[in-house]
């Protein structure tokens, strides 16, 4: 009897895992998507989005990173901005802009080249190009060589679902290091900038050796309520720099990122290089992008400098946790099924509901206290399926497999 109970528990667990697999394969074909607009809206949402959007405790501002808006300035204008800022000895200047080709304004190009050349520590962005056929990053997009001779390079790629730059895109993660087909490596823009400011912290971060890292967002810049944390970095607009409307000490020894923050600081209409982030006040459904790419990089730098990383479970750990929780559920539910059959439906539903709420709370708690992104999706699905799935296992699978069960099903006299 005792042995049979444990056999049922093990087989019940396997049956529900198989059910999960079946659902996953059916939904992989998206056959039900036409009837599932709600599921579609939720498809790009994670529970941690709710945490960042609504539950994150007000983070402190970061004074080590300064953003400078290049707006719609010409190359000559950007050169003047660079000269103006670099005279105050920043630790490093990062330029989050591509200058792909020379322009007709040769004088502007020369001014920009000379301005870049005068900066002591200068990082210019690149883009490793992925070749689907070889599954390798086989080439590197850079600015025109006349602009790169005095610069260090770092890739500005962020992990999104966007096919092209102009697509709407959600950004939660980035890749700290990308290896190219020729064996060379490109550090992420944020990592490279942090390495100039605090090399030991950047090294420690890279030693985590994760291909993908979750961005621990701190906040935004003048976003008019798009997020709850609208001003967490110092920011200068074009007219601030040209008009000397800033205190030079705010630049000295800091990480300065030149980037596009709209045609002017606080520009809510421009969508160029603008991302949805988990900080977005609207965490589900239709929303407006909330953060410019340069601010995303600033958040990465801030995360590294503050050693405030996000930890994640591996895929194996997620499955192990889901199987363990499922096994204990099946064990308890099997006991109820055998000993308290009249109570089965009510008790199991209540226990499932309590577990789902508890796991959601644990996910938020783990994120808040341990910076652990506890992705319990497999566990939640396993818990949701365990009650009814076990009933199907006992009521259908076991009966079909037993002669007595099959006979009972086709016995006409029972009516």
């Amino acid at each position: 009897m005792f042995r049979r109970f444990w056999l049922d528990v093990i087989l019940g667990t396997i049956f529900i895992l198989a059910l999960m697999g079946l659902f996953a394969s059916i939904t992989a074909f998206k056959v039900f998507d036409i009837m599932d607009p709600i599921g579609d809206a939720f498809s790009d949402m994670e529970f941690t989005d709710v945490y960042y959007s609504q539950l994150l405790d007000d983070p402190v501002a970061d004074q080590d990173v300064v953003l400078v808006n290049i707006g719609a300035e010409s190359r000559a204008g950007i050169a003047m901005l660079i000269d103006s800022i670099s005279q105050h000895n920043p630790a490093v200047i990062g330029m989050d802009t591509f200058f792909d080709f020379p322009k007709e304004d040769t004088l502007g190009d020369l001014m920009l080249m000379e301005a870049f050349g005068r900066v002591e520590n200068f990082v210019l962005v690149t883009q490793p190009i992925y070749n689907m056929e070889t599954d390798e990053f086989d080439s590197l997009r850079t600015s025109w060589p006349m602009f790169t001779w005095n610069s260090d390079s770092a890739h500005a790629v962020l992990v999104t679902d966007a096919g092209v730059q102009e697509d709407l895109k959600m950004c939660r993660e980035f890749t700290p290091l990308l290896k190219l087909e020729d064996g060379t490596e490109q550090q992420a823009f944020g990592v490279k900038l942090a390495s100039y400011f605090a090399p030991e912290k950047a090294k420690k971060f890279l030693e985590r050796d994760n291909f993908v890292e979750v961005i621990n967002y701190r906040g935004n810049v003048l976003d008019y309520g798009a997020t709850k944390f609208g001003t967490k970095f110092a920011a200068l607009d074009v007219y601030d720099v040209f008009g000397g409307n800033y205190v030079p000490e705010m630049i000295e020894g800091k990480v300065v990122i030149f980037c596009y923050l709209g045609n002017y600081l606080g520009d809510r209409e421009s969508l160029e290089d603008k991302y949805f982030t988990p900080l977005n006040e609207t965490y589900i459904g239709r929303a407006f992008p909330d953060m410019y790419g340069g601010v995303v990089h600033a958040n990465i730098v801030s995360m590294i400098l503050n050693e405030d990383y996000i930890y994640q479970l591996s895929e194996t750990q997620k499955w192990l946790l889901a199987i363990t929780i499922l096994f204990f559920n099946i064990m308890i539910f099997s006991w109820i099924y055998k000993k308290l059959p009249k109570w089965y439906d009510g008790l199991t539903k209540l226990m499932q509901l309590a577990q789902l709420l508890a796991f959601i709370y644990i996910m938020i708690y783990a994120m808040d206290f341990y910076s652990l992104k506890l992705d319990l999706n497999y566990t939640l699905i396993a818990v949701a399926l365990s009650g009814d799935g076990l009933e199907v296992f006992f009521g259908v699978v076991k009966n079909v497999l037993s002669r007595e069960g099959r006979r009972e099903l086709f016995k006409v006299s029972r009516l």
Binding site: L55, D57, G230, A235, Y239, N245, P248, Y361, I364
Partner: protein, 314 residues
């Protein structure tokens, strides 16, 4: 005895921490949009607010219309000021939330907020957006201001001229000047095709030295010019021209129409088109009977790609 010593040490520590914590600034300015000012404690006049500047408890923050100021408290917490008007820094400090709520409290607050959300069923309040854009009735930029879109100036005044569009019933215009924050600082109605801007006038004083000028037809405000950006050069930007100008002033008096032509030539050579056209306009007004001055003015406009005069091409 041990308790007394411990209590004294604790009290001293708390007092010392308070003293240390109380030093330095109350807020630091992280971002600053608008023509905002700060009045320092004990000062009689307010000064322009700069990004990165610190604010102390006795200071007053003066936020302009449309301002957006991001402040960082000494604890690292941030505060945004978007309401125009004067606010004491000590009052702003009271608004900073330095307490840390537990995750359970935050979750509870979030759920309570969600439960109290009410759906807005009033359709009239949802009619704020149009499915249309705004354009001038007969196309944009129908008034041509006779200047490049961006222009530098070093003089204390400037005469801006423009052409009347065809078909206007009355030759009345409204000229507006905005600062870089899109705030209107000067407005004048005129029936002529020019205006004299006095950069030393009270309303034209502008720390950034940047102005955006637009001319509209009074009878139809949709008939307008493009925005003309005027930058008044100061400091090192202006001093590069000052040596040559001083040398010229020592040799040529500024009065007299011929002198003004010489000054116009100097300004044009140095790329100061607005100053050059101003001097030309002054020369024409002094000697309206000399038609050559008008021709010289047209030369300047053509050489600088501002306007081609077809009758001269024939």
């Amino acid at each position: 005895m041990r308790k007394v010593v411990l209590s004294t040490v604790t009290l001293l520590f708390v007092f010392a921490s308070g003293v240390v914590y109380g030093q330095g600034y109350t807020f630091r300015v992280l971002a600053n949009k608008g023509q905002n000012q700060v009045k320092r404690a004990g000062a009689t006049a307010a000064i322009a607010l700069k990004t990165g500047a610190t604010l102390n408890a006795g200071d007053e923050l003066i936020a302009s219309q449309g301002a957006y100021i991001g402040l960082m408290h000494k604890t690292g917490k941030t505060l945004e000021v978007r309401t125009p008007g004067t606010q004491k820094v000590s009052d702003l400090e009271k608004k900073v939330n330095t307490k840390t709520a537990s995750v359970s409290e935050r979750y509870g607050q979030f759920l309570a907020k969600k439960m109290n959300e009410k759906e807005n069923t009033n359709y009239r309040s949802k009619l704020n957006a149009t499915g249309a854009v705004s354009r001038a009735l007969a196309g944009d930029e129908q008034i041509q201001v006779l200047l490049p879109n961006q222009v530098n100036v070093i003089g204390d005044n400037a005469i801006v001229t423009w052409d009347s569009p065809e078909g206007m019933e009355s030759n009345a215009f409204i000229v507006t000047v905005k600062n870089i924050f899109d705030e209107e600082i000067y407005k004048e109605e005129t029936t002529s095709n020019s205006i004299n801007l006095d950069f030393n006038a009270e309303q034209m004083k502008n720390d950034e030295g940047l102005y955006i000028l637009t001319v509209r037809a009074k009878e139809n405000m949709d008939v307008k010019s493009g925005d003309i950006g005027i930058k008044r050069l100061k400091g090192a930007d202006a001093s590069q021209y000052q040596e040559g100008l001083t040398a010229l002033q020592s040799e040529v008096p500024e009065e007299g129409s011929l002198s003004k032509i010489i000054y116009a030539s100097f300004y044009e050579e140095n790329g100061l088109i607005l100053d050059a056209l101003t001097k030309m306009e002054e020369a024409i007004r002094l000697s309206p009977e000399v038609s050559d001055f008008e021709e010289l003015r047209k030369d300047i406009l053509e050489r600088n790609g501002i306007k081609l005069f077809s009758e001269r091409d024939q």
